[in-house]
Symmetry: C2
Subunit: 293 residues, 2 copies
């Protein structure tokens, strides 16, 4: 099973990279193949300075080994011997009018236990309700195809997970997030099919979003707002993101883990958007519990 | 005693802000006075876009309250009722040839226990040995005035504390760091005098460093290197810095806590300096155990 799942993820990475290159038009992924000293390895693919994508990464990895008792406890794993494979994506577009997107699908084994996790979430620099609605409808359709309870559960889970507690705001407009989907959810093949469907939903969904406002011009002030929103993205990833923590704590390949960070980010002390501005409107959307569909 | 110590820190903040404005030439601090809902408050002072300083903060706070058992445990405090006062500084200069600097001096009470902590550390974008040597000599002179064992101990402590584990490099050329200097170190007044001396060493030391290479021109590539080094600074502060963690976990005033982040920072996937370049030389200095004096 391990090998089938890993191979599926490898092909998913190939497909997504091809589709992103096609949509971008000029950027090309650069690949680094790496091995993990403790066992396994991966293929990190990074695209920089494309026509639309400023910086993006589509990573595949399949790693295994034995964790120290401290790390096992910190990660709440039932056993120290583990196998993990997955695809992780973060895309930072050049235009403030095109949203940042993140996707992760993963399969995990620890001792005798197995489970899947993953999700897709959208971080628009400017929240455009019709864009957020389109995105959530795509997520819901993918979920509903498997189980009508998935979207409501996983949408709530994303609201809670992609939350920047110290800012009291969500990272973006959410999406779906799920973890530890094991035998109590469904048999392995059924969960696998669901997770692959999530993976396969990513490229067409993001291509559509890339196309929506790609030709809209932007001002310097809108670019600065984009850099500030990216600053929040950095805060989330370094302070809260579990994948990042897992990577840092298991001494993972640091350049692959931190490929999620943007090329450029900004911080302004106590920045407050002008009343009635699109920036203020965006901030008002960054909360849990918005029903997009 | 509390009030005397807090008042000393307040005056220290005033003095340092005055000296930094004088050295910068055109930038002026903007002050926000705030209150903490749980007790106490502070004066946050931020300088932006000065002649030399791109972004900097000099914060004073004196806060008190009762911590939840979880946070008390996480912070390893002997009691839930606490009082904390201190001055915290981070300065990000415009020129890549002028180093970033950080200082903190603080006094803490939890239940019946009291202690001081603090330190100063230097993060040059380009390590210049004579600059690092000057800085460490100033730190050593301040320490030696109080106890010959301080500098060697606190220099080692800074090497360990200002370490970016996941990058396997120090944040900069270190400096001094100390924590939990309580009754077993010396009587309260003696430790207080030492900590105030550290605080008073900051401004003349940094003014000297600001003056050293301020008129050196820089290239676009040197600016980009500066932004990458700032990226590492962000990584340290969000992943490891105890002051930041304490602030985030005690629901502190977020804009004051994160004033340490630079106006602009960059990340490049797997950036490697050219062999023999000044960037590569700088990287070779970013390790523990360098004896600067």
């Amino acid at each position: 099973m391990r090998e089938t799942i890993a191979e599926g993820f490898r092909l998913l990475q190939d497909d997504i990279c091809g589709q992103l290159e096609a949509e971008d038009g000029s950027g090309r992924f650069k690949e680094d193949v790496w091995e993990r000293p403790g066992g396994g390895g991966g293929r990190t693919r990074v695209i920089v300075d494309g026509a639309m994508i400023e910086k993006g990464g589509v990573n595949f990895s399949a790693v295994h080994g034995i964790l120290s008792p401290t790390i096992q406890k910190a990660l709440e794993l039932p056993a120290p011997d583990f196998f993990a494979t997955g695809v992780s994506i973060v895309i930072h577009p050049k235009s403030p009018h095109v949203p940042i997107i993140h996707m992760n699908v993963r399969y995990f084994e620890a001792g005798e236990r197995w489970w899947f996790g993953g999700g897709i979430d959208l971080t628009p620099h400017y929240v455009v309700p019709e864009q957020a609605r389109f995105f959530h409808e795509r997520m819901k359709a993918t979920c509903d195809h498997h189980n009508a309870s998935y979207y409501p559960r996983f949408k709530l889970w994303a609201d809670d997970y992609f939350y920047i507690t110290h800012r009291k705001e969500t990272r973006g407009v959410g999406g779906i997030f799920f973890d530890r989907l094991g035998p109590e959810t469904a048999e392995c093949k059924a969960v696998h099919r669901f997770v692959m469907d999530v993976g396969n939903t990513f490229a067409p969904t993001y291509r559509h979003l890339m196309g929506m406002d790609r030709h809209l011009p932007h001002t310097e002030a809108e670019r600065q707002w984009q850099l500030l929103r990216r600053g929040r993205y950095v805060e989330f990833n370094l302070v809260y993101d579990r994948g990042t923590k897992f990577g840092l704590e298991t001494d993972g390949r640091i350049e692959s883990i931190l490929m999620s960070l943007p090329a450029l980010a900004a911080w302004e002390y106590d920045f407050r958007p002008a009343p009635g501005s699109r920036e203020e409107e965006t901030q008002s959307w960054l909360q849990k519990g918005v029903e997009w569909c």
